[in-house]
């Protein structure tokens, strides 16, 4: 397990100096290791974890389950690549289990997202069926708890 990645998973805004101190390495070593992880395509980018529903009430996110008809000579990659191209699409995963692709779609209204699914995604060749699930509330994401009740229950000062 890479400790540096663990630290960045928790907080990507830690400075190289802080990371170096915590891992007991030099700042230059920390910088070099991070660059290597970026160059190797292991660290793909840095984003914030945002409680979207609180930040923007008009923002709507849905998770779409897609069943795909297996086509001769083609895996799921072609269809996944086509779906990736839409800017409304945040993420695309190939899954094991009851359906094949899980697609996260963001829009400014329920109607817009629903229309995007029915007009664009459902219409794609190879798509057998879709099921749209709107996110109503975020409780936890990337190990960050979103609920209001995260206050420290410990006494302010204790021996």
């Amino acid at each position: 397990m890479n400790k540096l990645l663990d630290l960045l998973r928790q907080n990507a805004r830690l400075s190289n100096a802080e990371i170096a101190t915590m891992l007991g390495i030099t700042e230059a070593e920390a910088a070099a290791q991070i660059k290597q992880l970026e160059d190797d395509g292991i660290i793909m980018g840095y984003t914030a974890i945002i409680n979207e529903e609180s930040a923007d009430e008009t923002r709507v996110t849905a998770i779409i389950e897609i069943k795909v008809a297996p086509m001769k000579g083609k895996g799921f990659d072609d269809l996944a690549h086509t779906i990736m191209e839409y800017e409304e699409v945040d993420s695309v995963f190939l899954l094991s289990g009851a359906y094949d692709l899980s697609v996260t779609v963001t829009g400014t209204s329920l109607r817009k997202v629903a229309l995007f699914v029915s007009e664009r995604l459902s219409a794609l060749e190879g798509v057998i069926s879709t099921a749209t699930h709107f996110i109503l509330k975020r409780y936890k994401e990337k190990n960050h708890v979103f609920s209001e009740d995260t206050t420290d229950e410990r006494s302010l000062v204790s021996p």
Partner: protein, 391 residues
């Protein structure tokens, strides 16, 4: 109308309220204070242990246990001590499960201290020893540990305080508040002084899991000839993040434990049953969680030590517990002044070193039982504070 002042014994009235308590009142009076002042883990008890407690409650296991604790738990503790401090204790005769390490300390004092006995207490240290010794009619004799010795107890300092009345040495390492540890060679020195005397040792090892820089905790009980003169105190609060469950234990020579058990039986009957069942799971099935917590503490520790040294406050590198103990003498303030001003100016609460004994003056205790983000924010505010008072 009863004159309460008249009926309350001097011995009790004379106990000073903890300096921490006074400081708590100040911290609480200021809105929006962020704290670096707690002495308990920020982690939750490992889930497996919590789940076991739920299961035990569902099964209705709500009766007392044996006075000295569930035999299954005592066996687990015995195994744990064999593994960690390489010392064998009979689960039947040499281990008592107590209500936190605190009860074990109190019971051990009450069992051993007679009127007029002297108890040696290295300072700075946890706040309970001296008052509890006093209540037993004993006299707590502080032994000052120093920054230049990395706050370790030295054989020389120990020898200087030993008198014919010395009954007991309290050995509180890894130490709260300094974070100091005693490595094997340091303990050998202490053992050399004590072997051949009738002085007993109460070794408070509650922070034993929290040692850093690669070396594991060593107990004085595992040094040759010391098991027979040592009572080991430990518990589940710190190691397994179980403070609220109130569960600890004492392990020591049978003739002493036999007497101690009588007291425990009359005072407590038996430790909380649900907690005891949960503790079995914590000790046998939660190693991975404990290791993860220690690793996390270690990273935070480095962050704070560097943070304080960088801002010009000399901070020795503690190798145990979850506190750093930077020196604030360069600011020209007393510990109490420093802490009060830090609260009022920057809304950060750290504990004055003087709350842990006079020798803590000139230092403050900073806990790192907080998330990295919390620590970084607080460090930033302390840095601003130091810069502003320099001007």
């Amino acid at each position: 109308m009863i004159d309460y002042d008249k009926i309350l014994p001097e011995r009790i009235k004379g106990i000073q309220p903890s300096g921490i308590r006074k400081f708590f009142d100040i911290a609480q009076s200021v809105e929006g204070v962020i704290s670096l002042s707690v002495g308990e883990p920020d982690f939750k008890t490992p889930w497996a242990a919590r789940k076991e407690a739920i299961r035990i409650l569902e099964k209705g296991r709500t009766a007392y246990t044996a006075n000295s604790g569930l035999i299954e738990l005592r066996r687990v503790v015995s195994e744990y001590l064999k593994e960690t401090i390489h010392t064998e204790y009979s689960p039947e005769k040499e281990i008592i499960i107590t209500v936190g390490g605190s009860e074990a300390i109190d019971m051990a004092f009450r069992t051993m201290i007679a009127e007029g006995d002297e108890v040696l207490v290295p300072e700075p240290s946890f706040v309970c020893y001296s008052p509890l010794v006093t209540v037993c009619g004993g006299t707590a004799v502080p032994i000052v540990t120093k920054r230049e010795d990395n706050f370790r107890l030295t054989a020389q300092a120990l020898k200087e305080k030993i008198t014919p009345r010395t009954k007991l040495l309290v050995l509180p390492f890894p130490n709260n508040p300094t974070g100091a540890v005693m490595r094997r060679d340091h303990l050998e020195e202490i053992a050399d002084v004590l072997r051949g005397t009738d002085i007993m040792v109460l070794s408070d090892e509650i922070y034993s899991e929290m040692t850093y820089n690669g070396e594991k905790h060593v107990s004085i009980a595992e040094i040759e000839g010391m098991k027979e003169r040592t009572i080991v105190i430990n518990g589940f609060s710190k190691a397994f993040a179980m403070t609220g469950w109130r569960l600890g234990y004492a392990a020591g020579p049978q003739p002493i434990m036999k007497q101690m058990l009588k007291l425990h039986q009359y005072c407590i009957m038996s430790s909380p049953t649900v907690s005891q069942f949960a503790a079995i799971v914590a000790m046998t099935k939660c190693r991975e969680e404990v290791d993860k917590m220690i690793e996390e503490y270690d990273m935070r520790r480095r962050l704070l030590v560097k943070g304080f040294n960088d801002m010009g406050l000399d901070c020795f590198e503690p190798e145990g517990a979850f506190y750093v103990f930077p020196c604030i003498k360069s600011t020209g303030m007393t510990s109490a002044e420093f802490c009060e001003r830090l609260i009022y100016d920057k809304k950060v609460a750290v504990v004055p070193g003087s709350a842990f004994g006079e020798s803590g003056e000139g230092f403050v205790r900073v806990s790192y039982a907080y998330s990295v983000q919390h620590l970084t924010t607080a460090l930033g505010r302390i840095r601003e504070f130091i810069e502003e008072i320099k001007k």
